[in-house]
Amino acid sequence: MIAARAAASLLRHRARTALAVLGVAVAAAMLLDMIMLADGMRASFRAMLDVRGFQLRLSPRGTLPFDTEATIGGAGEIARLLRANPDIETVAPVLGAALHVRVPGTADVSVVGLGVEPAVQGDYALVRGREAARPDELVANALLLRRTRARLGDTLTVAVGYDPQLRTARGTRRLVVVGEGRFFYLAADQPAAALPIATLQAMGGPERADRVSLFMVRARPGADVERVRAWIAERVPRVTVLSTATAMAAVDQRLSYFRQLAVILGAVSLVVGFLLVTTLVTVSVNERVGEIAVLRAIGVARSRVVRQIVLEGLVLSVAGAVVGLGLGLVTARYLNGILKAFPGLPASIDFFLFQPRDAAAALGLLVVTGLVAGAFPAWRAASLPIARTLRQEAVA
């Protein structure tokens, strides 16, 4: 009965109700997008960091991994020290360098080169082929294969740079492509190759000898990661030891703008939805004060009137939310496409990531908003002085 009366009240002014639902839908879409933005990039970044289970990363002191061209010297000794710790399961050294691949007849292709130990690497997943087990082998990503028109088994001429004085390429090697990999931490528009770290160090000459850009460390199951982090920080003071949590904090700091924007716009969306529903239900109640007074006069309980009016607000909010959730997913996809164009952003990072709990949070917030929005007009309706209202209505 209450539901039927609430529906009848809303359907009495269909255009007005439709417009209100549309308004709430846009606000709901924005709210969902902002919840996805606030949560999505963190979840996406965490997933990227955890992809191979490395909990700790060692970079040159005072830097973030690959944030500068700085490298860590004495890499062999550090690796031996780390591997001797019984709490550490895997140590994966990585050396980064810009490479140039010669393509006959066209300009050289600039490539992100990663020197890795193939048996323990955590930078890519093999899509096809095999790991670069020998010193003269490499694993390429799909973009590099496309740009060089190379296939598995082909040989590429790779250099680490040019010597302007000698006018010749430096550190040139001929390397066989033995696998195709999907690189976790690189942008989609970056051609990339992974080769044995010893090969890349040798190609770089004395500047790169026994140096790495980064160590990735995986602790043994059950080991206290924070204790391992503190142990490394104490024993190897030349490096900054980043745990997943500290890396997340650094990302939070750099991308705090987007989180704050999400909170502000999400709050504005909620306020807009709240104002729309409150205004509509208040006007609706104002138009029906006589009807409500009659209902109260013939014995309809105050709580029943309150429930009906609160239900009207709730129906508007939920209807708007349902339409808005679909709309929000479409706009989130569009906005994510814009932000994915950030230069150098790893391909696996999404700013807007849909998680069912986001939809539940948006729906929950809108339901609460609808209830609160209906509360004021419901209180007004329930506290109408019956006799005076009836007299005023009769005079009017």
């Binding site: 846009v26 924005m30 030349r238 969306s269 205004t279």
Partner: protein, 271 residues
Amino acid sequence: MLHLALALTLLAAAQPPPERTIAVDERLAADLGLRVGDRVVLRARPEDAEGDTVRIAAVTRRGADPSEIARDDYRVRLHLGQLQALIGYGDRVDRFAVATTGDSGTAAVLRRVNDAAFGFRAYRSRDVAVETSRTFAVVSRFHRAIGVITIVASAIFLLCIMLLKVEERRRDVAALRLLGVSRASVVRSVVLEAAAVALAGSALGVGIGWVASAIVNAHYQGVYRTPLVFSLVTPGVVTLAVALSVTLGVAAGLLAALRLVRTPPLALLGR
């Protein structure tokens, strides 16, 4: 004459070499409590045993560069030769900045350098600027998209509010019509009222927007320690916002007024 030259040479040999100086940026000076005249030791690598003791000669302020916004690093400026010696870079540089005599001169220099050089390329400064501000271009595109969504939401909200506002005048309109006021006059008065409300709301909105913009600038300039202006309230933005809200307000008022005057006055009174 010979004696004088010899004396000057001996004097120069007796003087200690001039102390080397650097400039640090405001951020580093503030975080480490450094002041002009302080002495610091520079090392190329943390593990290097010996460093280069230098005196801070200046504290510099960064320019408003969007490409550096998220970078929380410090800047130290050294004389070129000093930096080359410190990091063992030899007689090398990362780039040259070249001033030309004009557009045609720039084109000629680009052509000559790129035809003759091996191992490096010359670019126009504006091309470099476009490349380095790609991050900011993405953020700008994102803001525009968010702006469009906000405008759509605001437009619907405004339409809804104006329709409700006019609908509230049912009884007044019915009374006016029963008194013999023409439909056109009723429509004009309702539209005028809607325009006045929209204009007043716009003025208030511009004020709120201006204050919000000042808060945004103060907050993010503090967070990112940059003089960059994040939010600008320009005459164009104000004109767009006011024009949009007044147009929507008048349109909503007109729609609602037309509906009201087409309804018989007694029906408006609920009879």
